[in-house]
Amino acid sequence: MHAEANRQTVELRIRRQDRPNAAPYWQSFVLEARAGANVVSLLMDLREHCVTKDGERVDPVAFEHNCMEEVCGACAMLINGLPRPACSALIAELEAPIRLEPLPKFPVVRDLMVDRARMFEHLKQVKAWVRIDGAWDNHERAPRISPQDWAANYLYSRCMSCGCCMAACPQVGSDQAFVGPAPLAQVRLMNAHPTGRYDKTERLHAIMAEGGLSDCGNAQNCVRVCPKAIPLTTAIGELGRQTTLQALKDLFGND
């Protein structure tokens, strides 16, 4: 990890696309990677001098990045076929040549940039919030939460909407209504909150409708690719029980 330690030469094969509806094409680049380099830092180096392996000068590769420490979720892409944040994908640990593609399941904006607006629409659809009277101090604290419940909830509250789970899920697609694993996990989180649970029924109804929980095909890809190790399938399992109970309540009345 020290500055003067070894450098390595790596080849990047990047799937490029100039515009949303343009045809994709591949380009290869060969560049020096500094020790400790990751995919984002390499793409940043490439911007300064964007010349292909064949010596052709091309436009810099468009990509997203922000925090560079795997907390903002911006830089997720397909790296050697796997969806993951590019900033924490260390070059030394990747098989070369390194293949970079835009995150699937989302419309490509340009090159490695995709439009994840859908995910945020799905968060609205499932009402992923705790409804409060207003963002002012009403001099009341929220109810207590046990350290055990906190520990379980905290796993879900670290979801950064990077979209990796959506990209890996065979049931998520641009022509499919499935809300996907990340928004479902937020339902799990909000339903567990002591006042968030006041709107549990509404949230459950939202995921019992078209595109909801029953579209999950139990492939379990989501939990395998989540960079934050969020137990997405556990959440989906818990929601299965909650929706079953809700369906019974809907049939037989609430109490």
């Binding site: 922000n66 940039m113 705790v130 963002a135 009403n138 929220a142 350290p147």
Partner: protein, 636 residues
């Protein structure tokens, strides 16, 4: 939406911008929220350790008064005291509100909010959510704003970059011009008021910064160049404990020390042993040695300078003098602490360190060094003092107003709360609090507004849009050999070496001349990119140009201040506390007198105003009504 509803534009969707949005939407106004990306990617997400609020959960007799005193002294008395008073008084209420939003604050065994120790204080005053507090707070307000979106009260304009404000003939802000980062369309938007919540500017020091790549300061620089005053630009915080790294120096939270982490170097700089094989007696715990009272939790400016001294002056960095550049590192050690405790309370940074350094901080000490972190300085904002209570007058339209009518600023892009040095865990507080205050202030401003932006002539907006579109054209035309990304790298290197932890007037003069030269090199810019769709080089080049302009303000402000105060350290003007002497000792009392005399000269706010030839620097007095500067900062 009531008849009196007005249109407001908020720029930036981190904690400050989202809080301002909430306050404005709840006051019944229409908010258009501009962001460079989906708002939840904002840099607030990177804040780790916590947020300060006096809840006194630990039987330590903590008090709001003490929070105020710690914040004032932590900032070397440079911040106006009424805003600090109000912020500290309102902090517990903010925490309660966050808690109601569902923020996953860490808990005591009884299910109550846990609190931990942070730097520059003696009380456990920091609420936290593991070591991802900023992320959790940001998501809490992000969820509330999303709810307001579904109610039609907020409209997000994500993937738009703010370029400039639009002023009418009276100099009142009537809207903005922004660029769609995909289509590159440049467009004017009318607004009855504008809130700038554009965050920090650590990228001016890239890559030696903990800041996200979008924390450029460009938006603040743009309004500065349009006449907004910029205050205390010389006060920039270097966080003592950042990971080493060539692409970014990632933050390792101060909470690591608050929870018991220790900073040390081998006594023998040539010691090549694995750190855990070095016995206690052969380790130099320099913070504990030099500052026995506060130890590892001295304020950041002091910790950063101590690490600087150990590595650069004493040659005691890990690996010693012959380690070259890698002498710039010291150990931050958690290995003596209970592993479960550390994993529960600091898990997020353990994971960052493991992923990026390939080592486990539970098994071996981390290697760290100071890095550019936080701007105490920022856009000058006003406040109205409450004559009876002493703090800021609640709901005054003057609070957080810049000197341009109709333009407000909040969050890290303002200068209001931290003086010469910010205390840890006070930034999530100031970002949230100032966002809410700015929102309330704008609501008051709007209720007194006779005529809204709808009355402003269309020509104003067309002229400014055209000016910005012309600038884009000018930047896009290849004119030579200067690459924008390389210019950025040079800016970062220059600022890191010449306007960094330790400052010197000759170096600052050199920096100012290099910055002028850097600005001129934009005449020979070549984007190396001709795409008319999602052209990131264009957006970046414009940001770097505005960063250079802001760097000039920082260097000129630093040049103008011939003293040491907080993060601004010019050894030539250092008034060191006499070693081993304490209040009552004649040597200390003589020092106190020198310190007071220096305050008479320099305890004043630096205010920069734009001028085409370079920033014009002036000073204005600080409101010291609450705590007169009688006690020098002393953390020994």
């Amino acid at each position: 939406m009531s008849a009196s509803a007005r249109q407001v534009i908020v720029i930036g969707g981190g904690l400050g911008g989202l809080w301002a949005t909430l306050a404005l939407a709840e006051a019944g106004h229409r908010v258009m929220l501009f962001s460079l990306f989906e708002v939840m990617r904002s840099h607030s997400a990177c804040a780790q350790g916590g947020i300060n609020a006096v809840l006194d959960m630990k039987g330590q007799h903590d008090s709001v008064q003490q929070h105020i005193v710690d914040t004032i002294k932590g900032g070397s008395y440079l911040a106006n005291q009424p805003p600090i008073q109000s912020m500290c008084e309102d902090a517990p209420g903010l925490i309660r509100t966050f808690e109601r939003m569902g923020v996953t604050f860490s808990r005591t065994p009884e299910g109550l909010l846990d609190q931990r120790l942070f730097g520059g204080v003696k009380h456990k005053r920091t609420c936290f959510a593991g070591a991802s507090t900023g992320q959790q707070l940001l998501y809490g307000v992000d969820q509330q704003v999303r709810r307001l979106e579904t109610e039609g009260k907020v409209e997000k304009q994500e993937w738009w970059e703010f370029l400039s404000i639009v002023k009418d003939v009276d100099g009142v802000c009537r809207g903005i011009v922004a660029m769609d980062l995909r289509s590159l369309e440049v467009r004017a938007f009318r607004a009855d008021a504008v809130v700038l919540a554009s965050g920090g500017l650590g990228q001016i020091y890239a890559p030696k910064t903990t800041c996200s790549t979008n924390s450029t300061g460009a938006a603040a620089s743009r309004v500065y160049q349009q006449g907004a005053r910029f205050a205390n630009a010389e006060f920039f915080q270097f966080h003592p404990t950042a990971m080493l790294g060539e692409d970014k120096t990632r933050l390792m939270t101060e909470a690591a020390r608050g929870e018991g982490g220790r900073v040390w170097v081998p006594k023998d700089p040539g010691d090549r042993r694995e750190p855990l094989r070095i016995p206690e007696s052969e380790r130099f715990y320099f913070l504990e040695d030099w500052y026995p009272s506060y130890g590892n939790t001295v304020p950041r400016d002091i910790a950063a300078r101590a690490i600087w001294k150990v590595t650069r002056e004493l040659g005691l960095g890990v690996g010693g003098a012959d380690a070259g550049e890698s002498r710039d590192r010291v150990y931050l050690d958690l290995t003596h602490l209970d592993r479960n405790f550390v994993s529960t309370r600091l898990g997020a940074i353990l994971s960052i360190y493991r992923k990026f350094a390939g080592q486990d901080p539970l098994e071996t000490p981390m290697e760290i060094f100071p890095a550019a972190h936080y701007a105490m300085g920022g856009l000058w904002v006003d406040y109205e003092k409450d004559p009876t209570r002493g703090g800021m007058k609640a709901g005054s339209p003057r609070n957080h107003a810049t000197n341009i009518p109709g333009l407000y600023a909040c969050g890290e892009c303002d200068y209001a709360y931290h003086g010469a040095n910010r205390l840890g865990a006070n930034s999530l507080l100031s970002a949230s609090y100032s966002g809410r205050v700015a929102g309330e202030a704008v609501a008051s401003y709007l209720s007194g507004l006779e005529q809204g932006a709808e009355a402003a002539p269309a020509a104003l907006f067309e002229t400014e849009s055209r000016r910005q579109a012309d600038l884009n054209q000018q930047f896009s035309r290849p004119r030579g050999d200067q690459n924008p990304f390389r210019l950025h790298r040079e800016l970062g290197a220059l600022m890191t070496t010449q306007v960094g932890v330790v400052r010197d007037n000759a170096e600052l003069d050199a920096a100012l001349s290099s910055l002028r030269e850097l600005e001129q090199r934009f005449e020979r810019l070549d984007l190396s990119e001709s795409s008319r769709w999602a052209n990131q080089s264009l957006a970046h080049a414009r940001q770097v140009f505005d960063m250079v302009k802001l760097a000039q303000v920082m260097a000129a402000s630093a040049r103008a201040r011939d003293e040491c105060r907080g993060a601004h350290f010019k050894p030539a003007f250092d008034l060191a506390i006499p070693q081993g002497k304490f209040p009552g000792d004649p040597e200390f009392e003589a020092y106190r007198e020198r310190w007071k005399a220096n305050n008479a000269d320099w305890l004043k706010t630096t205010v920069a105003e734009y001028h085409p030839d370079g920033p014009r620097i002036a000073f204005e007095p600080v409101d010291l009504g609450l705590l007169a500067p009688e006690q020098p900062r002393d953390y020994r």
